[in-house]
């Protein structure tokens, strides 16, 4: 079966809901649909879908506009609050990492005041300090976000 050039006319008539009433003006189109496989099939499907649309729309139990607006407002505000919290959590992460860095530096200085203890290479100490910061920063972030 091939598409028919008269399909738009047929769809238009069905959508207007006057296919069944068959006004005089549609007589010729109806006769065409009766003998054209594509248009005949189209009429059957379009009528069924149109009818279903009317029933489903009637059955729709949608919330009131005011309720949907109110929920959207609440949600938008909460999202705005969440956005405002985000820079704070990043700052908390940074502060945590800095604190860990300072603590590591002090520990290093304190270590050096005891010459009896084994004294590692300063480069190893630096790498160790950086490593601590890298581990601590995400941990602080995770805890800060979990609290929210």
């Amino acid at each position: 079966m091939n598409a028919c050039p008269r399909e738009p006319e047929v769809v238009d008539a069905v959508m207007r809901g006057n296919w069944q009433q068959a006004p005089e003006a549609l007589r010729e189109l109806r006769a065409h649909a009766a003998s054209c496989a594509a248009c005949g099939e189209l009429v059957t499907l379009a009528q069924a879908l149109r009818e279903d649309h009317a029933v489903v729309c009637r059955a729709a139990d949608v919330p009131a506009a005011g309720t949907v607006w109110w929920r959207a407002t609440i949600r938008a505000r909460a999202e705005a609050a969440e956005k405002a919290v985000r820079p704070i959590t990043f700052a908390q992460g940074l502060a945590g990492a800095s604190l860990a860095g300072v603590a590591a530096a002090f520990a290093g200085i304190a270590w050096r005041t005891f010459p009896s203890l084994p004294q590692p290479d300063p480069l190893v100490m630096l790498a160790l300090g950086l490593g601590v910061c890298i581990v601590i920063a995400p941990l602080v972030l995770v805890f800060a976000l979990a609290r929210d």
Partner: protein, 193 residues
Amino acid sequence: MRDVTLSSLERLGLGAADAEEKLTFCMDEDAFRLFYDRTARPVWAYLARITGDRQLADDLLQESYYRLLRSRAVLEDEAHRRNYLFRIATNLAHDARRRAPMDTAPLDDGIEHDQPDPRTAGDATGRAVRRMDLSRAMRQLKPRERSLLWLAYAQGSTHFEIAQTLGLKTGSIKPLLFRARRRLSALLQEGAR
């Protein structure tokens, strides 16, 4: 849908006025109410039919309007806004169905059928059976085919509107629609046998 309160705002010391400043909706409340009252039922019907799930349609309806309100797209007139809303609804429904494909088995769509008038009870029963067959056949189509058919023949959208809603080229609608129609017709005939 997330259930949220203002408590997190209050904890931050952000008052209602500050929060209001951060609320950027693409229309004001009066315009929204008018628009919603004109579109909510058709959007719900579309969502219910293409997802086959009333509950999901309820959730996606709220989500669709929220995304529309928050959108930064330039929506010049009501027709454009409406197409955009249906596009959001389509994407949400198709995403939901990708995560949880539609069950093709159940017959009852949960949508009540017309109360039969005793004088036309035969007609009403016939219509109910036709609707049930249609519902079952629709469920066996691909999501895009369902959308195409519903938009074209249930809603009477033009090819341009359908293209806008589904993110397709206007010229591709005619052959796609024809193929979807043929498939639906074949499924209905199969069901009748």
